[in-house]
């Protein structure tokens, strides 16, 4: 956990308002799938760092890939960074996904929108360990879809769009039902509503959910990004430092 001026290796739009930012730096050696980095926006007026999940890690090249959606002034400023530019990064932060092979031997990755990125490096690691990886990705429209072919290298991929402009029309759960996918071991990241529905439909599923929340410090000191624990009276969990990845059943999605 440190701050470092990492440098932009490449930076490009990969879908509507969605950018893939590849950074090089020493910090990469400490990164694990499911962790995030706290990125300083190139603007004096914007104080708060932006928590961005790590989509891919290359130890050989000491690079990491971040994927983010332009959704406000901060990410808009971030999108102006050119190749070679320095970016101040604090990290790696948070707990990642456990990497033990799931007991069923199969992993179902369920990603929604800008929640898709952290599942990619996870999928690569699981696949490398011989786990059968199946992926369901949900997006709003065809132009929002990204990383379909990347996930296809890991196993079968099913894409859904809300308007039916690409893949199955509807939500991730429609694809899971339509193809009768194995939901014993799931790993998910996406809108809270998506994760609530999945958890409700498959209460016996084992696995993990990665959460997003507005953050301050990113290390558990400021208490900005809390979420409720499922156990009554157990109080809050901190998304940044207890998570962002939680075992299913631990926190209220």
């Amino acid at each position: 956990m440190q701050t470092e001026n990492m440098h932009v290796v490449s930076h490009k739009a990969i879908a509507k308002d969605t950018y893939e930012l590849v950074l090089i730096g020493a910090m990469v050696s400490q990164m694990a799938p499911g962790q995030f980095v706290h990125v300083k926006v190139p603007s004096e007026a914007m104080l708060l760092r932006r928590p961005l999940s790590i989509a891919a890690i290359s130890q050989d090249e000491t690079t990491c890939t971040l994927i983010y959606r332009v959704d406000g002034a901060g990410t808009k400023a971030l999108a102006t960074l050119n190749e070679g530019a320095a970016v101040n990064v604090f990290g790696p932060l948070g707990s990642g996904f456990p990497l033990e092979a799931p007991s069923s031997g199969e992993a179902l990755l369920i990603g929604g929108g800008i929640g898709v990125p952290p599942l990619y490096e996870l999928g690569r690691r699981l696949r490398a360990d011989g786990v059968k990886v199946t992926t369901v990705l949900g997006f709003a429209t065809a132009e929002a879809v990204f990383y379909e072919s990347e996930f296809a290298e890991l196993g079968q991929v099913y894409v859904t769009t809300e308007d039916g402009s690409h893949g199955t029309k509807g939500f991730v759960t429609h694809a899971i039902e339509m193809h009768a996918l194995n939901v014993e071991d799931i790993y998910m990241c996406g809108p809270r509503r998506m994760m609530q529905v999945v958890e409700g439909l498959y209460p016996k599923a084992r696995g993990y959910a990665s959460l997003e929340e507005r953050m301050g410090c990113g290390i558990g000191a400021c208490l900005a990004c809390v979420c409720d624990r499922q156990e009554k009276g157990a109080g809050y969990a901190k998304v940044c430092s207890d998570g962002p990845v939680f075992p299913l059943g631990e926190v209220v999605l």
Binding site: E44, M46, L47, F90, G216, A221, C222, L223, A224
Partner: protein
């Protein structure tokens, strides 16, 4: 003696830099980044009698050169702080300024009595200015008579010096400062956050679940400097200055305004290493100004010269 050393009631500080209450928890998280013994002091998270859950999320929102927070004093309660947090933090060689809060005068007394009896506590910071709780908090910091009475009651039960943290959300902060001085305050912390609000322009809904929140960061610094300067004209009490400090220039500006020492809050979120960095950078700034000690630069207040 070091040119950065600052000696205040209860707080023997090797330098004038302390993290501000609420931005640093009880120190555990930042202790993973650097040795807390380098700090002039640590102001810990506000503590209430019972454990407190705080407000729903979202609890923070960014503003231009600032931020809003509405954490709502989430804390584990006085017993847990006394049993677990203070003994842990006391292992570091730095004074501990224990921030206390309450919704009634009796609660403030109970928390002050318990925590000021702890050997780990160097001084108490009496928070009468939290804008994010429904009961108590800032209400005690709005009315000079109430503020004076609460200060006197907390002073009566406290075994350690008491610094009263004042609100900028009043017409006349100097009147409040004089009131708590009459109540027996040993020092002042200036300033807490300014009440503010942000709305989603598409829906009209507040960004913070609490509606309003406390604004901090560089945007509030001119307000904090003016209040520090203003209060320094009317009292000789030690002042812990804070509000938007992120650079050595900011630290010196507060000292020039009349502060004895400073606290750094929001800047910890932009740069988690900001406190040790400021400590390292300050001597070169004193050199540039030809000051042998940081207090050579202190504004004394025109009326008190």
């Amino acid at each position: 003696m070091s040119r950065l050393h600052v000696e205040l009631p209860g707080l023997s500080m090797k330098n004038p830099i302390m993290p501000a209450s609420g931005c640093f928890g009880y120190g555990r998280e930042y202790a993973r980044l650097y040795d807390l013994s380098c700090l002039g002091a640590v102001a810990v998270k506000g503590t209430t009698e019972a454990q407190k859950d705080g407000n729903p999320t979202p609890r923070v929102a960014e503003t231009s050169s600032g931020m809003l927070n509405a954490i709502g004093l989430q804390n584990p309660g006085v017993e847990a702080v006394a049993a677990e947090e203070l003994p842990w933090l006391a292992a570091y060689d730095t004074p501990i300024l224990v921030n206390i809060s309450g919704s009634t005068m009796e609660e403030y007394e109970t928390v002050a009595r318990t925590l000021s009896n702890r050997s780990e506590t160097s001084a108490i910071e009496l928070n009468i200015s939290c804008p994010n709780v429904k009961k108590g908090g800032m209400a005690f910091g709005q009315d000079p008579a109430l503020a004076e009475e609460l200060t006197a009651r907390v002073k009566a039960v406290s075994r350690q010096p008491v610094y009263v943290k004042l609100s900028p959300n009043v017409a006349d902060p100097a009147a409040l400062a004089l009131a708590v001085e009459r109540g027996g305050a040993d020092g002042l912390s200036l300033i807490n956050t300014l009440v503010g609000m942000r709305l989603d322009w598409k829906t009209g809904a507040p960004i913070l679940a609490n509606g309003a929140g406390g604004m901090s960061g560089p945007a509030v610094k001119p307000v904090a400097i003016r209040i520090t300067h203003n209060v320094r004209q009317v009292t000789n009490l030690p002042i812990i200055g804070m509000g938007g400090i992120s650079s050595p220039e900011d630290v010196i500006e507060f000292i020039r305004a009349g502060a004895d020492t400073v606290a750094v809050g929001t800047a910890n979120f932009s740069d988690p290493f900001v406190c040790p960095t400021l400590i390292e950078q300050l001597p070169a700034y004193l050199d540039e100004l030809g000051a042998s000690h940081i207090h050579d630069l202190q504004g004394k207040g025109a009326a008190l010269l």
